[in-house]
Symmetry: C2
Subunit: 359 residues, 2 copies
């Protein structure tokens, strides 16, 4: 079964194609902005999910304070498009990056994260290039074991180093609590806050992160802003986390069934170079709306292996199906463009302008 | 520890960066061409690995008969660059693709694979657009359970359908045996060959596939050509398959250690948006040359999680390390360009021109 819209997409663009429903995008933006407003924290959406300045501007128009970027290259694309308040939530190192960061800071409001004194020393070079103060937040690890200082004592010491480094200003704390780790994050933050206040420092920014953490919004006393990313599109992971329904999923991959070599098997023209091997810890690599019991069992680079053994409905060769990805952020990063629709109408094509900005 | 070349790459390009050693690339091309020559089969390298016309031309200059593409968009990029003999090893469907395939066929030698009569019926439309015969090979599944007809009887019947379809010509068989499945492939092929000969059809092309199958080169009696892809760069999967050594690995991801929040942990600035979540079934997501006992344990989108617990040597923050990817084909697809070096010299930048050609 192929819906009329899917047939139209296949005819005009071919498959695989990424299609975003702009009504759902706008609804997702409005809902999360309202939740941030209600919780009394600013919204600073992470653009790693959509990588499109046009969508970042919709988020800002809806009330977001600014945006978050994970890579300097993403921030440059967003600044070029006119966005002027960006948090880069990542340790940056190296002369090449410091020159670019300094140039960016000379033009717009940039805040940067750091979790160690080597990075802080580097950042002074960017501040020198910028010719104005560079605000730095201390990244704190509150259970995720990724980046971030591990103790409040380290956070306090790093804040002190930042505040005494030429050209840098201490801007606050950045946390990314696990979904169950908010009490732990509170204890960490409270201790760090007391420590920096003893140094006569005040955090202007206390930032929490994550779309799955939208259910914890406002739980950290003292938080000033939140950095959700995936909520603009949502995906199976957000559904599993309980922060989105199927109707909130705004991006679908349209894919053609190109082979049905056996009754219980099929092949999609979307493989790991479209949907990626990132399972997000879920069973199967996406939900097929037309055949929800079919399992995308595994991938070759350009083949999606359909296991139809438990599916009562089975696609025919040539059917164009719609897939909700497991992890939409990594899928968008495979795409040069997404097709925008409203209801059954194609309304435009949006470049994924910051796609592949690795550095 | 950062090598002088790594320092230079970081200074000029920043990290993460993909670096290819052109001496190794040329050596890999020459070695596999010589192996094909010795086995008496033509070489038709699969360009899905490198996606660069310049490298495809090196393969052809070294003696390759033509190239293989998995996507029509890849073939268009290669044809635009002047390559005129392309096998598209994939079932194509839909009016949009048939128009493009027909236009391509009107200009160059294109052979296309099919594993079912629905696709064959579609292909007649492309032939009509081209205004000349479109050669079609029958894709045969000899154990991989991907695309491909499952029995010789189906292969014979599909060959008959192709040969009687307007504008199409039967060109032969395409197989992709598993590494241990060559006797099975031989039996399949022998039966199919006898069957098509009874229809007075003769396969001009009998194509086998896969770099891991280079160790089986020439084992299929009647094979006319082989389609290896990964051999141009190699990776940990090819090493595990026993067809490459560490010195044959020509592409490395250069990545900076940006955090060392605890003694046994570190963070690389290359995550799943650079190295991809495709583990290739191996332990860890890449081999770090400077710290071979360190494990890239998992990824966030832009973070590589280093487990240093079993490594006697541990990197410092700011070190630039060189990583052999598990599966180089999917990593190249994340990149807009690769940096070319010879020994310690940077000799150029090569665009990954067919990157992201999903359709």
């Amino acid at each position: 079964m192929t819906t009329p819209l899917a047939a139209k997409i296949a005819r005009e663009f071919g498959t695989p194609a990424a299609v975003i429903d702009m009504d759902r995008v706008e609804r997702n933006i409005a809902r999360v902005q309202a939740a941030c407003d209600a919780a009394g924290v600013a919204n600073r959406p992470h653009i790693k999910t959509h990588k499109s300045p046009e969508l970042a501007k919709l988020q800002i128009e809806a009330g977001a304070r600014g945006i978050t970027c994970q890579k300097l290259g993403e921030a440059e694309v967003m600044a070029e498009a006119g966005i002027d308040d960006i948090l880069i939530s990542y340790n940056l190192l190296g002369d090449e990056k410091m020159a670019r960061l300094g140039a960016l800071r000379s033009r717009i409001d940039v805040t940067i994260a750091a979790d160690n004194p080597v990075v802080v020393a580097e950042l002074t070079k960017a501040a020198a290039v910028a010719g104005r103060a560079l605000p730095v937040v201390v990244e704190c690890d509150t259970g995720r074991k990724r980046a971030g200082v591990e103790t409040a004592a380290e956070a306090i010491e790093l804040a002190r180093v930042i505040s005494t480094s030429p050209g840098l200003s201490f801007a606050g704390f950045m946390l990314y609590p696990t979904e169950s780790g908010w009490p732990q994050a509170q204890a960490f933050f409270d201790e760090a806050l007391a420590g920096v206040r003893a140094l006569v420092l005040e955090p202007a920014i206390v930032s929490t992160g994550g779309s799955p953490n939208l259910k914890n919004l406002g739980q950290l006393r003292g938080a000033t802003e939140h950095r959700p990313g995936t909520y603009i599109y949502n995906d199976r992971m957000q559904m599993a986390a309980g922060v989105a329904t199927l109707d909130d999923c705004a991006l679908h991959i349209y894919s053609t069934v190109v082979s049905r070599a056996a009754p219980e098997r099929g092949i999609l023209d979307a493989g790991s170079k479209t949907l990626t091997a990132d399972s997000g810890g879920l069973d199967g690599f996406g939900l097929i709306l037309e055949h929800p019991e079919a399992k995308i069992a595994r991938f070759a680079e350009e083949h999606g292996f359909l296991d139809l053994s438990r599916s009562n409905t089975r696609p025919n060769i040539g059917d164009v199906v719609r897939i909700v990805p497991n992890h939409v952020c990594v899928v968008v990063n495979m795409l040069d463009e997404v097709v925008m629709v409203r209801g059954e109408e194609i309304v435009g094509v949006l470049p994924v302008a910051a796609r592949g900005k690795l550095r």
